[in-house]
């Protein structure tokens, strides 16, 4: 999937249906005709871009959060670096990275990973530190070791905060990943990018790719919500 994607068909106004030729609001026929060669591959690439970014970002954020939880002094420095990364606009970050990593997935992923890191790191730290002091005292008083306290008490109690962070990270990564089209012919941003380059942008292409990005975000969000209810059934009852 890496490198150049499949050829994207720019609608030929001379040959398409009346709807396409007239660039009506939305042409179902075009979506049907170009699902296999344009929309479906773009959706798959988009899922890959997001999954890699969130996967690496989560692993890094989790490791850093554990370090910060163990040693409070490193929490602030990590938080500040992460927040600084977040303030750089995505396009500017791409521009900074291209001389080093080129027009590649690596460039895009470095940018996306750093954004997920900024969102996930503070959420995981907050989750680990949200455990009430009386619960920690009881754990200690009953003879749990530090590792047992982390695995059996702190991490399970941090699950709602961690999944809350993942929901924001996934949804915003799906959105930011459309900008990858400025560097690569991949992802749901690319059909939009191409359409916008045309002097008369083809509306159906923009709408259909945009709709797929929104639908993907909603599906991922709902999946994470179900995951939270499964992993932390107690949290729902506490709110009730």
């Amino acid at each position: 999937m890496r490198g150049s994607g499949p050829p994207v068909v720019i609608p030929n106004f001379g040959q398409g249906s009346a709807c396409v030729r007239g660039d009506h609001t939305f042409c179902w026929g075009w979506v049907h005709d170009h699902w296999n060669d344009t929309l479906s591959p773009a959706l798959v690439q988009h899922i890959e871009l997001t999954a890699i970014a969130v996967g690496i970002g989560f692993a890094l954020a989790f490791a850093l959060a554990l370090a910060a939880h163990r040693n409070r002094r490193v929490e602030h420095p990590i938080g500040i670096v992460a927040a600084l990364l977040y303030t750089i606009p995505s396009l500017a970050l791409f521009q900074i990275l291209v001389p080093f990593t080129g027009l590649t997935w690596t460039t895009v992923e470095i940018a996306l990973v750093s954004y997920t890191l900024v969102i996930l790191f503070p959420n995981i730290v907050a989750g680990l530190q949200s455990v009430p002091p009386d619960v920690l005292e009881a754990a200690r008083g009953m003879g749990l070791t530090r590792l047992q306290t982390l695995l059996r008490v702190e991490l399970p109690l941090a699950v709602p905060a961690i999944i809350g962070g993942l929901r924001i990270a996934v949804v915003s990564t799906i959105s930011i990943a459309t900008i990858a089209a400025f560097l690569l012919p991949d992802g749901l941003g690319y059909p939009i990018f191409l359409a916008l380059k045309d002097p008369t942008p083809f509306k159906t292409e923009i709408y259909s790719a945009g709709f797929l990005a929104v639908a993907l975000a909603l599906v991922c969000d709902a999946t994470l919500l179900v995951l939270r209810r499964t992993l932390a059934p107690w949290a729902k009852r506490r709110l009730a």
Binding site: R140, G141, M142, G143, L144, T145, V153, V159, W234, R237
Partner: protein, 314 residues
């Protein structure tokens, strides 16, 4: 059921860095096996500090604490704590675990087989007055009093010979508090365990303890005795003031009419043998009489208690 343990505080001293004076000063006393010992005193007296030294949540500087002759420093803190029940005011139940899982915490750490743990959970739920169905519920679904029952069950789970309780009923409303005090007392009569119980409430100390240690500012043991002795002979002005001006009445509250030598004859009103002497005196003052016929549960007349008899009890 493991036997209760004897606890010895031997010259224990604790000083916090940067704070003038000792938090605990040469604390020495012995709690007999099976006793219910209450540590009481004003804040700054070091009672919670003393309690938490027993399971080494707080280290001490010098002296020693021995459980059945064995220094608490002989075991690793983790091993030591698994053998001691621990109950705190805020309970500290694990919110993500069901009541059953909470109770199973220490037995699981000790590697008990599953069916033994299950049997123990049911045994304990019954002991602390909860329903078997409560096993599957989460702590958030319970009231404060019920949560402390679970906390107590969790502390008793591995059948430790010693139970440490740090103001366990301090956050409860007076009615729930009184009920739990009564039940804990009954439970202590049933299971053979040494209890160390911290409170700042002298009323609670007298009601619960069969030994009371009063600690004053600077962690000095002001008096260590039975409740009756404490009320009859306060060691000094500090203890007398802490115990309160109505200590004669409190002493009367420690005895019941069934414990008192009765005279023959007939009184002007009746009282049950289980009535405390304090309440009997109160009743006589209220009814403006000076003799009560004491009757047992079956209504059998046991004798007469005269108002003047109360004096001779002090």
């Amino acid at each position: 059921m493991s036997a209760a343990a004897e606890i010895v505080f031997d010259n224990v001293t604790k000083r916090y860095a940067g704070r003038g004076g000792d938090a605990l000063h040469e604390l020495s006393f012995t709690i007999p096996a099976g006793a219910f010992c209450v540590l009481v005193g004003p804040s700054g007296g070091g009672k919670t500090t003393a309690l938490k030294m027993v399971n080494r949540l707080i280290p001490f500087d010098s002296g020693d604490i021995r459980i059945d002759g064995r220094s608490v420093r002989d075991l690793s803190p983790v091993e030591l704590r698994r053998g001691i029940g621990y109950v705190i005011q805020q309970v500290g139940l694990f919110p993500h675990m069901t009541v059953g899982e909470n109770i199973a915490t220490v037995p699981r750490l000790l590697g008990w087989p599953k069916d033994k743990i299950r049997r123990r959970i049911h045994e304990l739920l019954e002991l602390v007055g909860l329903e078997a169905a409560d096993e599957k519920r989460y702590p958030a679904e319970f009231s404060g009093g019920q949560r402390q029952r679970v906390g107590l069950a969790r502390a008793l789970a591995a059948d430790p010979p010693l139970l440490l309780m740090d103001e366990p009923f301090g956050a409860l409303d007076p009615i729930t508090r009184f009920r739990l005090q009564t039940e804990l007392k009954r439970l202590h009569d049933e299971v053979e365990k040494t209890v160390i119980f911290v409170t700042h409430d002298i009323e609670e100390a007298i009601r619960m303890g069969d030994r009371i240690a009063i600690l004053r500012q600077g962690g000095v043991l002001a008096q260590y005795s039975t409740p009756d002795e404490l009320l009859a002979h306060p060691a000094d002005d500090f203890v007398a003031e802490f115990v309160g001006g109505d200590r004669a009445l409190r002493r009367l509250a420690l005895r019941r009419l069934s414990d008192v030598k009765l005279s023959p004859g007939i009184g002007q009103a009746k009282a049950a043998a289980s009535t405390t002497v304090r309440n009997a005196v109160s009743l006589m003052l209220e009814l403006k009489v000076d003799a009560l016929t004491v009757v047992d549960d079956a209504g059998q007349e046991l004798g007469v208690f005269n108002l003047r008899d109360a004096e001779s009890l002090l």
